[in-house]
């Protein structure tokens, strides 16, 4: 089950995407993904969700009140670096596109109005690519442990760090106490 979070300030867009993702098959090659779709009309609300639940893919509109899609995806990336990211937007100038690629590293930029088939295959590709990367990392870690390049403890620490960025970096106080980052506590 792949979990997707879609953010768009337009509720009708979210409804349409939910309908589409509910019935259309999402495949890539011979890999078939079943999707669990979550939606948010506010990027702030979506970020709140992302802090508490894990997602495989974020899809965001570009022009939204509160923050634009790039800002949202940047924050989402900080919380869940392994999730794939897509932008679905009716309009973006070149600047926005450049920022989206350079600052956020989006997998795809899809224009509105979208073509259902294109959108589904973009989602499939993004999910498959993400799966491949994770699998690759897992295998590489296995090999490194076997060859003695890494200890199982290091691998576990990296896994935890990915799960909860910042968790393995202990902030020591001058008196030997452990300082908890307030920003990480919310």
């Amino acid at each position: 089950m792949s979990r997707i979070l879609i953010v768009d300030d337009e509720a009708s867009i979210l409804k349409a995407l939910q309908r589409l993702l509910r019935v259309a098959p999402c495949t890539y090659g011979n890999r078939r993904f079943t999707l669990e779709v979550h939606t948010a009309t506010s990027p702030l609300h979506a970020l709140e969700l992302a802090r508490h639940e894990e997602f495989d893919l974020f899809i965001s509109d570009y022009r939204m009140p509160e923050m634009d899609g790039i800002e949202f995806l940047k924050h989402a990336k900080a919380v869940q670096p392994d999730a794939a990211r897509l932008i679905l937007s009716g309009y973006a100038d070149l600047n926005a596109l450049v920022r989206a690629v350079n600052e956020v590293g989006i997998d795809r930029f899809i224009g509105k109005p979208w073509n259902d088939y294109d959108l589904m295959s973009a989602i499939g590709q993004a999910l498959a690519h993400r799966e491949l990367l994770l699998e690759n990392r897992q295998l590489a870690d296995l090999v490194r442990v076997e060859m003695g390049d890494k200890t199982p403890e290091q691998v576990e620490a990296e896994r935890l760090e990915r799960l909860e960025p910042g968790i393995t970096k202990v902030n020591w106080g001058p008196d030997g106490s452990v300082l908890l980052d307030e920003a990480g506590a919310d």
């Binding site: 300030d9 337009e10 009708s12 867009i13 409804k15 349409a16 995407l17 309908r19 589409l20 019935v23 259309a24 022009r63 009140p65 509160e66 937007s89 009716g90 309009y91 100038d93 600047n95 224009g111 509105k112 109005p113 979208w114 259902d116």
Partner: protein, 402 residues
């Protein structure tokens, strides 16, 4: 003009006419009581016959010998006296001749210099006349050039604002277009499910459940409602655009400024992000003869600036659009509580190509265009702004008395 200068060396012949000479010489001869010959400065005998061995008395004026008296009979004293007499006579003559020659010369010189002056004046007049005509031609070509450039500027600005408009509209249209299209695609899927039910009518109830047709029926209804609402939105935007787009039709019309304001506001309203409001306080106005398309463009440009100013301030805000007929003029005020302008920005605000935006985010022609449109209507435009408090643009147009 005589070739001789007034102060040249005078000759005897010039001083004493040929008919005077014999009388004078005869008188001198009688005085001397004997023979007498008179020679000129060069020694040529001009009167009488000089006997050989005659006494000679030269008459010298200003170092030059002018005449010589020759006499054999006269005593040296008498000859000297006669010489002095002739000297005085000749000198008097010379003075008189000099004066008259000088006078003539001066008159002639005056005339010549007058003629030279005249020629010079005539020449310079011709030159100025030529310069003036050249200048006229040059002014005309430069004016034409300026006008052409201004036309190009306004064409560029119009294109730029059409570009801005297109960008805003694209977003507005693509959203409803996106979900409407996708919804219809989903609806086709729903219909296929109903087709599947038709194929399995024998077990209709079970198939109905299996296909989740209750959900499809309810959701299908909602889907069509949303799709229709989306299409309605697109129709609205297109209607707004159509009302706005007679920008290029530059025909005069008897129009109500409030209508122009409403149409320009409708276009900007479609682009308002959340948190930014638009309020219209329009009082009834008498219609005036104007170019409605151009005025709408001017209003749109100012409204667009107001919107940008609020977006730049990073706060929620309101654009207030008011109009009134007061003191024989129509007044339109567009007020925002956005970021405002600094005095130096305010000073340049109407200059073409002055922009506070980054490169690629506005060419700096919006207010310049607005002003030229307002001025073309005999109106005035004024800016009043304070940093972080907002900007008020006041436009006023004369109401023609009839």
């Amino acid at each position: 003009m005589s070739g001789a200068h007034f102060d040249h060396d005078w000759q005897l012949g010039e001083l004493i006419d040929s008919h005077e000479l014999p009388e004078l010489a005869a008188a001198l001869a009688r005085l001397l009581g004997g023979d007498l010959a008179l020679a000129d400065g060069s020694g040529r005998i001009v009167w009488g016959t000089a006997s050989p061995g005659a006494r000679r008395q030269a008459v010298v004026i200003e170092l030059d010998p002018v005449a010589t008296l020759c006499s054999a009979s006269a005593s040296a004293d008498a000859l000297t006296a006669a010489g002095e007499l002739l000297h005085d006579l000749l000198r008097t003559r010379i003075r008189y001749r000099m004066a008259s020659a000088l006078h003539l010369e001066v008159v002639a010189e005056d005339f010549a210099s007058l003629k030279r002056e005249h020629a010079r004046l005539a020449e310079s007049e011709a030159r100025y006349r030529q310069l003036a005509s050249e200048l006229d031609a040059r002014v005309k070509t430069q004016l034409a050039e300026l006008e052409e450039r201004q036309q190009m500027l306004y064409a560029a600005e119009r294109l730029a604002s059409i570009g801005q408009l297109a960008a805003g509209m694209a977003h507005e249209i693509n959203n409803p277009l996106g979900f409407a299209r996708s919804n219809l695609g989903s609806f086709r899927g729903y219909l296929q499910k109903f087709a599947a039910l038709r194929d399995d009518l024998d077990h209709a109830r079970a198939a109905w459940q299996a296909l989740d047709l209750d959900f499809l029926l309810a959701d299908g209804d909602e889907l069509l409602d949303e799709t229709l609402a989306g299409l309605e939105r697109i129709a609205h935007i297109v209607a707004d655009l159509k009302a706005f787009s007679n920008v290029d039709r530059s025909s005069e019309a008897y129009a109500d400024l409030n209508t122009c304001l409403r149409e320009a506001a409708a276009v900007i309203e479609a682009q308002l992000p959340a948190g930014i409001g638009l309020r219209l306080d329009l009082l009834p106005l008498p219609p005036i003869v104007c170019l409605p398309g151009h005025l709408k463009q001017a209003f749109y440009n100012i409204l667009h600036n107001a919107l940008q100013a609020i977006i730049d301030s990073g706060r929620p805000g309101t654009i207030i659009l008011s109009s009134a007929a007061e003191a024989g003029r129509l007044t339109v005020r567009i007020r925002d509580n956005g970021i405002g302008m600094r005095p130096e920005q305010l000073a340049h605000a109407f200059e073409p190509f002055y922009t506070t935006r980054d490169v690629g985010h506005g060419v700096g022609l919006g207010l310049a265009t607005a002003r030229s449109i307002v001025v073309a209507h005999g109106g005035k435009i004024a800016l009043d702004s304070a940093v972080d408090a907002g900007t008020t643009v006041t436009l006023s147009f004369p109401i023609p008395d009839d």
